[in-house]
Each structure stands twice: as structure tokens, then as C-alpha cells.
Amino acid sequence: MQEKVEAQNILSMNSVEVLYDNVILAIKGVSVQVPKGEMIALLGSNGAGKSTTLKAISGLLKAERGRISRGEITFQGADITEALAQKRVEMGICHVIEGRRVFEHLTPDENLTAAAPRGMSRSTLNAEKDKIYAYFPRLAERKNSQAGYLSGGEQQMLAIGRALVTQPKLLMLDEPSLGLAPFLVEEIFGILQKINKDEGLSVLLVEQNALAALEIVSQGYLIENGRVVMHGTAEALKSNSDIQEFYLGGGETDFHNVKHYSRRKRWLS
């Protein structure tokens, strides 16, 4: 039974603890599973530990003097807890980091080229580019202008497109909706959903905008103070009173289907 569940999860993160600078405990035993081909949301307020969780998975922690001090992460059954970031990208994990960090002095087209895996043939790269331009027609229009001068929405699209060039199996996005107008969020989330459907790409989406995220994912995790405090289906989370109160601005109670963790008081953790 356990094995069967393992096999269906493309990513499994078990009781992972992360230390920055060897002293700052940023996440404290986070467990997150991403079933193959599904879209999962990681919700929570500022400083909760969402970005740290993604960095633990992508291996970018090292660049910030962070490390996994406990727990393990497996990707497609392989232990990647200690793997180099570059290796993880090769295995199929790509992390669209916070703040749409496109290569500003390159054109969008060059941004896509820069992300090409070593050894990808020119024709494969061009086919990838065509596919990405088809998903994001706005990018195609501006592919030869300077990326630093694109609008916020276009830069986010480029950051996602750039990640797709690495041919990921798991795409992780860190607050892609931040600072974007609602219609753009809807457009980008719509495209993500389409890519997920068309290509079976698994997605781990970090968001503060729970309302928008819960519309497109199947399950969500709520992180607070470095711990997972709630996990359930999108439907269940949407109707949960705490979520509604803190993240959606709603009211009614429905504990249906929500797996509750003890919500520790802040002074205890």
C-alpha cells in the first residue's frame, strides 16, 4: 500500500528541516507530496517558509548558505536530498524563483536559449521555443526586445517559459502572481493549467494569493511558521473557516475533508 502511494508521487518530501547559516531554523519538519501530473499549492503568509521549501527541493538553498539538516526528499523514487542543483534540473525539477528574475540584458529569445540543457540539439531547442511561444503568444511578439523592459506579466511568462526549456517533469513556481493585475494572474494560471493538462506536467505552486491558487490546484498545503498546519483538497480548503478568514476573506465553517494538524500558537514554536 505504502509503495503504491510512493510510486504515484513524483515528489515526496518527508519531515524536512532547513537551517540557514547553521543557526536559523526556517522550516521545521515539512512533509509535502506531489502526485504525478497534479497541481499542488503551497499556501501561507509572508515568512512562513514557502520559498525555503521550494529551495530545499530545487537545491538552491546552497546558494543562500542554507542546508537540509533533517529529513529527506525523493524525486521519482530517487533520493535527491544532497544532489546538486544542476543535477536536479537535469532530473526534471525546475524552480521559477521569486520575483521573476529574467536575464534582463538578454532578449526573451536569448533567455530561452540560456536555459537549454547541455547537449540539446538546435532543432529540439527550436521546437521547444516554438511550443513556448505558442503557449505565450505575448512573448513571441517581443522575443527580440530586451527582457528587462518587458512588463511584469510578460516577465513572469518569460520566467515560466525559460523553466520549460529545461523540459521539467516538476515545475515549481514561487509566487508568480505577485504584483500582477488580476486579469494577468488569470491568464498565466490558465496557461499553467493548460500545460499541466497537455503535457502531464506536475506543478508545485507557492502562493499568497490563495483564492487564485485554489481555483487551479487539486490539493493545497498551508504552511505557518515553518510547519505544515493544514492539508486537504482544494475544495475542502476553500470552504475551511480558517482559510477563509485569513487567506480568502470569507466566513462560514466547514471542516469537511480537511486533515487538521494542531495549529500551534506562535509562542510555542
Partner: protein, 295 residues
């Protein structure tokens, strides 16, 4: 006003300036990838010249073979520097990397002193010193050759930065974290930029070694090279080429006017003025990029 003489000053100034550019291109390559001016570029240039001489005189190879072989050796040395020294400094303040390059420069000078001593050796490229006249204007052949090498390298790097590897290097120059996030090996990229700068150092070392002899004084080229790189914008190869020409012309023509007035030494004053004024008035140089305002 003697126009022929003035053009002669300007043209030879421009040629000398391109030799500064030749040096400065190496600085720009490393600045792009590491955001530090490499204070060891002078040391690398000196070592480049010494390695050519070692292969040509000590081993006895012909120069046409010794120079490319030295380029290969220096390419490896550049990679090695990243591997042994720089990688350990990843994530530290940039000023620490700057100090490391200073230490490296001192180390390289000391090493060449220990191995080859301090007596100046000649390169003996075999370029003729017979005067070359362009109409009435006298031109130095070795400067002409060096300027040609500088322009050839400029074109080669412009093309290189359009290739996939070149684009990845530019991406690294833009954003380390974003580069890592898509699987670009930042370490290899930085190593490659040091390796390429070390190859440029061989070219500069051969030309400048021919002009002023091969000894530790070659490492002092850093001062003019840095001035040119700063004027050009530190991260622009085109900037380095144009700034080199500007500095060379201003220095040569300016010194001719000023030397009689101040009794010599005005070249250094002009270089100093260019460097200081650039930093004060236009810190990102002629072609350096400003960081783009976020929309």
C-alpha cells in the same frame, strides 16, 4: 598648426590605445562574470608573456607554435584559478574577491621573479622596425599588428557572445541565482571567463612584451587597462575598444601640448584625469549598462 604631425600623433595614439583595449578586453570578460575588476590581469599578462618565452627560448619551439601553446596553458590556468581560489569565495562580499585578485597579482609577480629573475627579456617577434609611411605619416608596425589583434579579438568575442555558450555566460553575468535555477553551471561559466581572459592575456603579453620587453613591469599595464575598462563601462567589450582609442588619442595628443608646459610626465596626469573624471561624472562609463528600472 602642423596637421600632418597632429594626425601622426592621433593615429599612433589610437593604435597604442587599441593595445590598451587588448589588455582591457580581458578585464571586461572577468568583470562580466564575477562583477570584480580583476587586479591580477596585469600579472596574467606578464605570465602569458613569460610562458611564451619559456616555450620559445627554454624549450626551443618556434613562436608560431609557442604562442598558441601558451594560450592553451593559460586557458588551463584561468580555469584553475576559479577552481582553486574563487570557488571557495562564492557568496562572500565582492571586496573579498577583489582582494583575492590583488593577492594573485602579487603572487604571480613573485613567482616569475623566482623562476626567471627580474632582468628584462626580449620577445623577438620578428616584426620589422623599419618605418612604415602612410603618406607623410609614420606608423609603428608592431603597434599596427597589435591593434589588428585587438580588433580581431573584439570581433571574435562579439560572435562568441551570440553562441549558446556565450549567451549562457551573459546570463551568468546578469543573475547567478536565476542561472542556477535553470541548471546553468555558474562555476564553469566563471571558470570559462577566467580562462578566456587568460588567453587574451597571452595576446596582450606577446604584443606588449615585444614593445617594452618581458619583465615584471608588464603587470603595471593594469593601470592603463583599468582606466580604459572603466571609461568603456567595465562590462562592455565594445566600450573597451572605443575607450582605448579615446584614451590613446587624448594621451598622445594631450601630452604633446602639455609636456612643454609642465615639463614632462603629463601622460600619467592625463590618464589619472580620465579615470577620476569618469568615476565622478559617468560611473558606468561610456557603454556600461545601468541596471534596468523595473517596470
Amino acid at each position: 598648426m602642423d596637421w600632418v604631425f597632429l594626425s601622426e600623433l592621433a593615429i599612433n595614439g589610437a593604435l597604442t590605445g587599441l593595445l590598451y583595449s587588448l589588455f582591457a578586453i580581458g578585464l571586461v570578460l572577468i568583470y562580466k562574470a564575477s562583477s570584480v575588476p580583476n587586479l591580477a590581469q596585469g600579472g596574467l599578462t606578464m605570465v602569458g608573456a613569460y610562458v611564451v618565452l619559456a616555450l620559445a627560448r627554454d624549450v626551443g619551439l618556434p613562436l608560431w607554435l609557442a604562442i598558441p601553446l601558451a594560450a592553451v596553458v593559460m586557458f588551463g590556468l584561468g580555469f584553475g584559478i576559479e577552481r582553486v581560489a574563487l570557488r571557495r569565495l562564492a557568496g562572500r562580499p565582492v571586496v573579498m574577491i577583489l582582494m583575492l585578485t590583488l593577492g594573485l597579482d602579487i603572487f604571480l609577480r613573485g613567482t616569475t621573479l623566482a623562476i626567471w629573475g627580474g632582468t628584462s627579456r626580449s620577445m623577438e617577434l620578428g616584426v620589422s622596425y623599419d618605418p612604415l609611411f602612410l603618406g607623410d605619416i609614420f606608423i609603428s608596425r608592431i603597434h599596427l599588428v597589435g591593434a589588428g589583434v585587438a580588433l580581431a579579438l573584439f570581433v571574435a568575442f562579439m560572435l562568441f557572445f551570440r553562441t549558446r555558450t556565450g549567451i549562457k555566460l551573459r546570463a551568468i553575468a546578469d543573475d547567478y541565482m536565476a542561472s542556477w535555477s535553470v541548471g546553468i553551471s555558474v562555476e564553469r561559466g566563471v571558470g570559462l571567463s577566467w580562462a578566456l581572459a587568460s588567453v587574451v592575456a597571452v595576446a596582450a603579453g606577446v604584443i606588449w612584451g615585444e614593445i617594452q620587453g618581458v619583465d615584471q613591469a608588464l603587470s603595471l599595464l593594469l593601470l592603463k587597462g583599468l582606466t580604459v575598462a572603466v571609461l568603456g563601462g567595465l562590462d562592455s567589450i565594445l566600450g573597451a575598444v572605443i575607450a582605448g582609442i579615446i584614451l590613446g588619442v587624448v594621451e598622445n595628443v594631450g601630452a604633446d601640448f602639455l609636456d612643454p608646459l609642465v615639463g614632462g610626465g603629463s601622460r600619467e596626469l592625463i590618464v589619472a584625469a580620465v579615470l577620476i573624471l569618469t568615476v565622478m561624472i559617468r560611473p558606468h562609463g561610456l557603454f556600461g549598462r545601468h541596471d534596468i528600472e523595473r517596470v
